[in-house]
Subunit: 299 residues, 2 copies
Amino acid sequence: MDWIAADWGTTHLQLWEMEADGTVLNTMLSDQGMGVLLPEDYEPTLLGLLRNRLPTDRTTPVIACGMVGARQGWIEAPYAPVPAAPPSAAIAVRPKLRDPRLAVHVLPGMSQASPADVMRGEEVRISGVLAEEPDFDGIVCLPGLHTIWAQISAGEVVSFRTFMTAELVKLLSTQSVLRLSVGQEGWDEAEFQAGLDRGLSTPAALASDAFRLRAEALLDDLPSEAARARLWGLLIGVELAAAKPYWLGQAVRIVGVEDPVKLYSAALAKQGVQATSRDWEAMTLAGLGAARRTLLERA
Amino acid sequence: MDWIAADWGTTHLQLWEMEADGTVLNTMLSDQGMGVLLPEDYEPTLLGLLRNRLPTDRTTPVIACGMVGARQGWIEAPYAPVPAAPPSAAIAVRPKLRDPRLAVHVLPGMSQASPADVMRGEEVRISGVLAEEPDFDGIVCLPGLHTIWAQISAGEVVSFRTFMTAELVKLLSTQSVLRLSVGQEGWDEAEFQAGLDRGLSTPAALASDAFRLRAEALLDDLPSEAARARLWGLLIGVELAAAKPYWLGQAVRIVGVEDPVKLYSAALAKQGVQATSRDWEAMTLAGLGAARRTLLERA
């Protein structure tokens, strides 16, 4: 093992044991996210997962991104303001450790002054896209609980914009009156497409179109998978209406896990934009790997 | 006591002991809403609240509205489709009771075929507005967890439209990442007005403007009461953008409790619409009282 890649978010910690050439030796997933940890818990959490796998004859670097660097995380890694290249290890923050076998480098997130916006973790995936395509000029779209659209030019993040789209779908379908009518599984592609059209053309009607799913379930027995697909379509359609400057006539890379990437790819294709998708894990490792290289160059 | 008015919703039951002339003798509020009751629980719940206050020499009518008449309530009172006058006691549904001292009349809600929509309870408040102003021609706006806009003409509900506005505010401010930045108390009128303008002019940006509250809290120390007021402004602004046919150049009556009525009145006033407000309880009793009169006329 040459180094350790860590994606340490609010709800999860994922670790990859890496060789110098980028080969993944081992991966570990834990539910010990920032949300359940105090600052003094982070080092024991790492050591508990890595146990006796750590080399004892040298210090192994851990390159970490995500909420671990938030004010309420392990140690605050202040946001790098855009425009800027995605943060490298040169501005990572290093918590003090008791165990000499580990050296942890926490990468900062990025911020935008106006309109105010922040990200923590997505900038590493953007760095991964740039590691693959150093001359990329265009848009990186990162769907997750929140979707971030980032404008990339000359190796820098020029501007970005966050949408709470998937979190709204989740809240509406599990916590609101719609939970009685919107399923957590199943799909109806025609309803997704109808929702997309409606959201894009009439975004202001969202709070009314959402309730209509409940009314159609009561009056017309709308199936729960149809309601689910239309709700996703509505919310993504409304997002696309506002994010138009981020995709119209642009080269777009979508970085995420399988299902959301499919939804955004389909939604953009409907608008005539052929986005290229990139795997979330691969871009995370490419981005953390790029930070690992800056560390070596500085050494 | 001549009759009993009952507003039986999902989370609460409110009872009013009424004299024939509309005088309120006594009011009772209970948390025994539809959500926690099985069909066999409703009669004991009523009797438990009324105890030995019921006359024994005659049958006292109870006029009830709300989710008590839903499929999952006491007894289903099928929706009356619009266009139609608000349901009267003539089409109320009567559950069988064991106790001869009570006769319960459950009023139906109203439905709309296209776009699909439903209401249960609000139609009684509309009936109350018509009891006060029989010739009213215009819009009744009923803010609550959901806001309903109803078009009234010739004593009938012609069409209506439901928006999940307050439920979205509640979910975003208590269950989403915004809960860390949006307060449950306090107010900033300038932020409310700014949110209104933004929501009305750029409704598609909602999922992004909402996240901006979190980013401004992190980067600019946006106070939680300012975030709360702007979130309300955004959501009501987006609603007004879609509901424009329901208020532009219309006579509007707003029926609700104090705080939401103030917000909607201020939002409409900003658009040049001077809405008249009506008290929620008074309109409930006027509407249930109108149903009581149809009962007497039929007897």
